[in-house]
Amino acid sequence: MWALTLYRSTIGKKMIMAVTGLVLVVFVIGHMAGNLQQFLGPGRMNAYAAFLKSTGELLWIARLGLLAATVLHVLMAYQLTQIKRAARPIDYTRREPQVSTLASRTMRWGGVLLLVFIVFHILHFTTGTVFPVASRPDAQYPAFSHTDVYGNVVSAFRNPWVVLFYVVAMLFLLLHLFHGAWSSVRTLGLSKPSPDPLHRRVSTVIAVVVWLGFTAIPVAVFFGVIR
């Protein structure tokens, strides 16, 4: 069975990571673009949120798809990390990285942080289970509401700790995308031979745009640009 052959090989596992990673890259681009409607006021943002909810089964198909992609991505990362650890049982006393980027070296632990962030983010804005309010709550939006997405965002990002966590997590997303968006394409063998194979234009643009778009919202709320 070809699927088993792939699953059993390190290259196949890496390809599963690449495909699920690319699915998630497409998702974060869309998610970021949708979120930017926060800058257009409560009417636009809440209408967009209501539209997403109105899609019913489609929304659940998308959610389950994203969940499956995330689970596979994390599972493969875990398995490959175990393989990698076993591949060098005795480490060097001294090893000097020559060309590897900060992004490539933070994929594992940055990825763990992003997983923690995703869990928190869902409990925060989707279910409202964990919703730390600011020391001086917004008079207009005092608590979590399932219908007022705009208000939830304004209320949530008045808390400096929440803003800090989001800003730090997005820095790691920037790094994760800078390496991941580029390396997925190479892992899948979809790249053309290049005189400078470590050069990555498209994934730099994706990483920076996604980072700016996502970071803009908590920062804008915190400094009162969005109120």
């Binding site: 070809w2 052959t5 792939l6 059993r8 090989s9 390190t10 290259i11 196949g12 596992k13 890496k14 390809m15 490959l80 393989i83 990698k84 076993a86 591949a87 060098r88 049982p89 005795i90 480490d91 060097y92 006393t93 001294r94 090893r95 000097e96 990285p97 020559q98 060309v99 590897s100 490539s104 070296r105 994929m107 390496h179 580029w182 390396s183 190479r186 892992t187 899948l188 063998g189 979809l190 790249s191 031979p193 290049s194 194979p197 470590l198």
Partner: protein, 258 residues
């Protein structure tokens, strides 16, 4: 030049090893790194100690025998240079140089800086060959090969199998080596009959040898004395994917039970 060496000494595969300090005095900057070690070894022998064991053969950068981690960099500080072609002028008087063997589960230490790279040979044996008719030599240029393909194949064929890619890889992956071997044969018409089975078998052997996976750090390409590009890894993955999805099972290939 006077240098301080910290060299990994390990009497045998099962023995414990450790870094030991040696003074390398009156070293000429025109010596190669291996000649410097020869001088140190001669003095060790004169003093009645065991010399530092290290692999070497041609000493002109083409055999792939030599190789060690020098100050944390595979083959030392010079780019596109095997250890034998590294000269002492790359160091400064008074430097401390840490010398360690390649470290990977697939490369067990035999003694000091000598590791067993048989795993790379077994990857080659799993598919690094072509079928060629023997007995009747063909006309030399009977099979046309495009310039691009012949250049790319020659670039991949430059691999000397020294193992620096594995040594430099944070994951201990042999992807650059295996990718180079798969590309060098797979790019040429002579390598087509076994192209996909080769990719499947060599990658399977690579995994069996307990090498790590590729995460595209790019360290292998930088460490490679022959400057082989990580493009060969993309090509290996492409061939492996196609092989895994389309390769007929052995039973079908042998014509079944009939």
């Amino acid at each position: 030049m006077n240098l301080t060496l910290q060299v990994w000494r390990q009497p045998g595969p099962e023995a414990d090893g450790g870094l030991k300090e040696y003074q390398a005095s009156d070293i000429s900057p025109d010596m190669s790194f291996l000649e410097m070690l020869d001088v140190v070894n001669e003095r060790l022998i004169e003093a009645g100690d065991l010399p530092i064991a290290f692999d070497h053969d041609c000493r002109e950068g083409i055999c792939g025998s030599c190789g060690m981690m020098i100050n944390g960099v595979a083959h030392g500080p010079s780019k596109a240079t095997a250890t034998c072609q590294l000269h002492m002028r790359s160091f400064r008087d008074g430097d401390t140089i840490v010398i360690e063997p390649w470290r990977a589960r697939a490369f067990p230490v035999i003694r000091d800086l000598v590791v067993n790279r048989g795993a790379l040979d077994r990857i080659i044996a799993a598919g690094g060959f072509i079928s060629a008719p023997t007995g009747s030599a063909q006309d030399a240029n009977a099979i046309p090969v495009s310039k691009q393909d012949s250049d790319a194949a020659m670039d991949a064929a430059a691999c000397i199998g020294c193992g620096a890619c594995v040594a430099a890889c944070p994951n201990g992956s042999a992807s650059l080596f295996t990718g180079a071997k798969i590309s060098h044969l797979g790019l040429l018409p002579q390598g087509q009959p076994e192209r996909f089975r080769r990719a499947l078998n060599m990658v399977t052997q690579m995994d069996l040898e307990n090498f790590g996976h590729c995460t595209l750090f790019g360290e292998c390409q930088e460490a490679c004395p022959k400057q082989i590009s990580i493009d060969v890894i993309s090509r290996m993955n492409r061939d492996f994917l196609r092989a895994a999805v389309t390769a007929p099972s052995d039973r079908a290939a042998s014509g079944g039970d009939g």
